[in-house]
């Protein structure tokens, strides 16, 4: 710090005159605090109203969409399960095509089929979807093209049937 800087600092301090807080200034300060508090309260209330309005606008559509949303998760669950299977399923499908003769019986016992079932069919199904036996079951069912069962199954294995057809 050179002389000029010391002198500058000195002047800045010396020009400070002691002016205590007056009642008027204190009142003005408290008025400012109250005003700001009101503004903040109004702002908060406005934000809440806006949030409520947004919820009111969004929730009905969310509820309207919820049934589809609930089916879709199930579909999503089955789809990934089906997705890996389709790879195996097509391979199994052609084979079952030879076994459709085994017919409707296996449809009810598909879970049992893997264990007891006709050699080729159940084994690949069990090997491809060991964790999801039922998934393999419908594929077999649909392949067999049963009259009653296919309806629910058809949705589960739509991809497998077309694949089976071209493979033939």
């Amino acid at each position: 710090m050179d002389d000029f800087e010391k002198e500058l600092a000195r002047i800045m301090r010396d020009t400070h005159d002691n002016s205590p807080l007056t009642d008027e200034q204190r009142d003005r300060l408290h008025t400012g605090v109250h005003r700001r508090r009101r503004v903040r309260a109004a702002w908060t209330a406005g934000t809440c109203v806006a949030a409520a309005a947004a919820l009111a606008a969004v929730l009905p559509s969310a509820f309207a969409a919820s049934p589809a949303g609930r089916t879709s998760p199930a579909g999503v669950v089955s789809t990934p399960a089906a997705t890996p299977t389709p790879v195996a399923t097509p391979t199994t499908m052609p084979t079952p095509a030879a076994t459709p003769t085994s017919g409707g019986g296996p449809v009810t016992t598909p879970t049992a089929t893997p264990s007891s079932g006709g050699g080729a069919m159940p084994t690949p199904a069990a090997s491809t979807t060991p964790s999801s036996g039922p998934v393999a079951t419908p594929t077999a069912t649909s392949a067999k093209g049963g009259g009653a069962m296919p309806t629910p199954v058809a949705s589960a294995t739509p991809g497998s049937v077309p694949q089976a057809t071209p493979s033939r």
């Binding site: 000029f4 800087e5 002198e7 500058l8 600092a9 002047i11 800045m12 301090r13 010396d14 020009t15 400070h16 005159d17 002691n18 002016s19 205590p20 807080l21 200034q25 204190r26 003005r28 300060l29 400012g32 605090v33 700001r36 508090r37 903040r40």
Partner: protein
């Protein structure tokens, strides 16, 4: 709540004068603007008081003041409020020499850009280290060094033409 208010009032009562002088230097002697800025900063301090009270509330007010002063300097127009009482009246404490010295200092500070002025005031009036000035102004230390250096050079030129002492 009462303790909150008591602590706040005690702080304001004790530090009002010094903070007002700081605000006045930051605004290059504009007493009304200085008081407005200080009021604004103290209102903000009130709401932050529970968090700041145990630490160093003056640093918080200083930071708000510096930023508010820089922001207000960018505004072109400052509203005038009519008042029944004229605010600028000579007080018995001010000697002619002090008034003259202050006027010269404020005129010199008015020639500086707001950020240079803030850096110089914080560095020389508040006697803060560069790192703390940087923290208060929200910029790097190198910037503070540069702002201070340029500000002092300018003040040296201005005040040398009208000697300080």
């Amino acid at each position: 709540m009462q303790a909150h208010r008591n602590g706040f009032d005690a702080f304001v009562g004790a530090r009002w004068s010094a903070l007002l002088h700081l605000a006045r230097l930051l605004t290059a002697g504009d007493a009304h603007r200085a008081e407005d800025l200080l009021q604004e900063a103290l209102v903000k301090l009130w709401f932050a008081w529970p968090k700041v009270a145990d630490e160093y509330p003056e640093a918080y007010v200083r930071r708000i003041l510096v930023r508010a002063a820089a922001r207000s300097a960018r505004r072109r127009w400052w509203g005038e409020r009519p008042t029944e009482v004229l605010p600028d009246h000579a007080t018995g404490h001010d000697t002619a020499e002090l008034v003259s010295e202050r006027a010269r200092l404020e005129a010199a500070l008015a020639t500086l850009p707001p950020r240079q002025r803030a850096a110089v005031v914080l560095r020389y009036y508040q006697d803060l280290p560069e790192a703390q000035v940087a923290e208060t102004m929200g910029c790097p230390v190198g910037t503070v060094r540069s702002l201070t250096s340029r500000g002092v050079a300018r003040l040296r030129t201005v005040l040398t033409c009208s000697p300080v002492s």
